[in-house]
Symmetry: C2
């Protein structure tokens, strides 16, 4: 028999690990946001393999402090303003801890009934919280599922769209026509990646122009692209519209795009990976207009809704289409519940077979915060972004590079070339007190300040502004 | 400002959740392995949405006890013998807890250097533990990465194989030729699913005959299939060989298959999802013969190596091919470290963009158990399977349906039809003391007893045998 960690040893060690995390959070604001070590520093500090006879948890915690934590970019740091946030929260960590402890695998309803049912209910709760169209609720032909990320959501939407566009032939014959996917110049790189994975290639992606001011997809350009493809004998399969683009949080005109998709019978997937969380606030639901046209929609609770990575919430209006596209049923997975047709088997809604019990962290977050707690969280970040943007607007040395409807502010130096703005970013990040990233807007190097950490307060945003303003010289 | 859970509240609630898990583990053996409730029981017990103002963690733990735990199939239960195991352990749960608490996102080296470097080193450690060929170590052109599952590993292997088979055209033009993937009749359903996702369709999968006795792929049949396809103008892209098939843990003859792949220039992916863990024991490494031919290989530490789902370890012999196949680089991800070429960005090794810090749970498991602890774990399960198989063999009412080189035993009633064996399985599972699943071997309904839980002892296996023997009447 191997020696395993018994429940009492787990209890003691578990308390120590919880304490380690509590201490990490309590001291996070005093650490540099990013590591200053060169590549390879951690790898070089680790031995060539594990010991023969094992080590205690205390040794691991010591090495976490000495070796790992100093070589991290701290995403939960109050001065982390990079990319989009991947925020988490105490309730999420605890819900995920329960998931780890239960160690169930929810590929089938039968393999973990509560894992499946809690997920269905949590996705209905989220649909209600965001005010999503009825068609996405599990009470009708639609329903929701947790994917690891919006990238995977885009991929499975693309696959279901190919199934539909082929009249069901695709499952058997594969990609035997020139199927096309559409997004704007501002669409996420995962759309091209999904098309590549699905066998459409770069040639299969039509990049539609965006409005130069709003950076939202131009619906006339979309219509023209679809028309031209149809005339050429290509097969429009899917349009991916974005609510809150990665570069600047632009909002595509989904009502117009949806009408075009309906006219041409093209699958509409709406990617609101970051900005979907905004819809918990009624005053921000304007951003979700037109969603009744969507065949599928996703957003990431793991970005801005306090739920740890990975947790993308993905809905379809007709789950039967998705399941038809993805199902393969080997004998060893057959069971009476599945055969009865009375249950959902989420393995058929995703790429992998296995599934972790991710609904638990959502359940913990939604119940611990409550509706008003989640709204207060989003509102506070939007207000902080407004505050930062007002400082930028009031300083002649800077310009705002795009509208800022949510909690991302894009800005650059008013004078000087791209190198000047890039140098500014480098100086600001070199302080170790904040971390911002960049994009390009209309070709110009642009700084992005994305507010997302629950630890970020007005003082941290004001501090970020002071650092930016003083680094601008 | 929203009210968040502060570090001290997290500390208190975290201790309570750890205690909940310790108590769950301590009482697991006394619970029924599976839920006896009909579909919808949990969903019906939940409210229509979260409350307005939030609830304490204690309310969540109470509902876990009252509503969730009774509706689970308990994968960590000592009487769980279904599917393949998805075992976890105290160290894994703790490592994953640290990952949740840090909340970093490792899509790029720059976005979390330690997340990337620890993963590279852990995959090198695992390669050493399993005695994998040098070509998979990160010291050369090869290297390893964590995927969520073997399904995803098969998918990315298929994509890299298409990139190679197309001479690099596939990225641009997609699937414009009849690419073919090969596996045996015993290959996992994820191989067909990967081919479908990649746009090859069901027609793109060649199902090669297996030896009727060993259920291992027939290399002559593989050669014949490749030859016929080449003659027909089809393009052989990938062969997926299996070490430890899902149905019976058959081991494909990788040395012969590898030689054929080398001859025809076809990508060889070896799927050892379950049985890879066996290679930590030198006496079981015969199962991995021929691996030096493989372009890619994977196994699941989350199946039989005490690491919680999700954790598939995937290696390639040439990581540049994989990265070329999958990379898309938008401006917002550009950074100095990536531009320098000195770092690994694991986003280019997988389907999603985002990544959780999954190497931590591996690090905790490998260090806490040590090499000998892991070997003892595998050996104890192999010995228990031998013991159970000996009972089956000694009882005239039963026959073993296949060899049992690892910890899975396949058996059925010697007399009677499929309904008799299916009825036996139903009666055994109805006791609630054990959970077995089934497969078909040569068309016959066959019971599968897979040993995998760290809690399973000789007494539990003997109990399982008593239940089976008495239910056979």
């Amino acid at each position: 028999m191997a020696e395993h960690m018994d429940p009492e040893e787990f209890r003691r060690a578990g308390h120590a690990v919880v304490d380690w995390i509590a201490d990490y959070w309590a001291t996070l604001g005093q650490r540099p946001v990013t590591s200053q070590d060169p590549p390879g520093a951690l790898a070089a500090a680790l031995p060539a393999g594990p010991t023969a006879h094992g080590e205690p948890v205390a040794a691991l915690l010591a090495d976490l402090d000495a070796l790992v934590a100093p070589r991290l970019t701290h995403w939960q740091h109050p001065g982390f303003f990079g990319y989009f946030p991947a925020n988490t929260s105490g309730p999420s960590v605890l819900g995920d801890l329960v998931s780890s402890g239960l160690g169930v695998q929810g590929m089938l309803w039968a393999s973990a009934p509560a894992c499946t049912e809690l997920e269905t209910v949590m996705l209905d709760w989220l649909a209600g919280l965001l005010g999503l169209p009825e068609r996405f609720r599990s009470t009708g032909p639609g329903g929701g599922v947790i994917q690891d990320s919006a990238s995977s959501a885009t991929l499975v939407a693309t696959l279901a769209a190919l199934h539909r566009a082929s009249g069901g032939r695709w499952r058997q014959v594969g990609v035997d026509r020139r199927y096309r996917a559409y997004t704007s110049t501002e669409g996420h790189s995962s759309i091209e990646k999904a098309a590549r994975i699905a066998g459409l290639g770069r040639d299969g992606v039509r990049v539609v122009a965006a409005d130069p001011q709003t950076l939202a997809m131009d619906p006339d350009a979309l219509r023209a692209a679809i028309r031209a493809d149809v005339a050429a004998g290509d097969v429009p399969a899917i349009v991916v519209a974005t609510i809150g683009t990665t570069s600047t949080t632009a909002v595509d005109p989904v009502p117009q795009i949806g009408a075009i998709c309906a006219e041409y019978g093209v699958w509409l997937h709406v990617d609101a990976a970051y900005a979907g969380a905004a819809a918990v606030c009624p005053e921000l639901r304007w951003s979700h207009a037109g969603l009744e046209y969507a065949d599928s929609y996703c957003f990431d609770p793991h970005k801005w809704l306090l739920t740890g990575f990975d947790c993308d919430a993905f809905w379809v209006a007709d789950s039967a289409e998705l399941v038809e596209a993805l199902t393969v049923l080997p004998e060893f997975l057959r069971n009476a519940a599945s055969d009865s047709g009375a249950v959902v088997d989420y393995r058929d809604w995703q790429v992998p077979l296995g599934r972790r019990f991710r609904a638990l962290k959502l359940w913990f977050v939604l119940r611990w915060y409550g509706v008003e707690g989640l709204r207060a969280h989003v509102r506070s970040h939007v207000a902080l972004a407004d505050r930062f943007a007002a400082r930028v607007r009031a300083d002649d040395r800077f310009v705002l590079a795009a509208p800022h409807p949510f909690s991302l502010v894009c800005f650059r130096l008013a004078a000087g070339d791209d190198e000047a703005s890039a140098g500014l970013l480098e100086r600001v990040n070199a302080t170790g007190r904040v971390f911002l990233t960049h994009t390009r807007v209309a070709g110009r190097f642009t700084l992005r300040l994305a507010i997302g950490s629950p630890l970020t307060t007005q003082a941290h945003v004001d501090d970020a502004w002071e650092l930016v303003a003083s680094a601008a010289g």
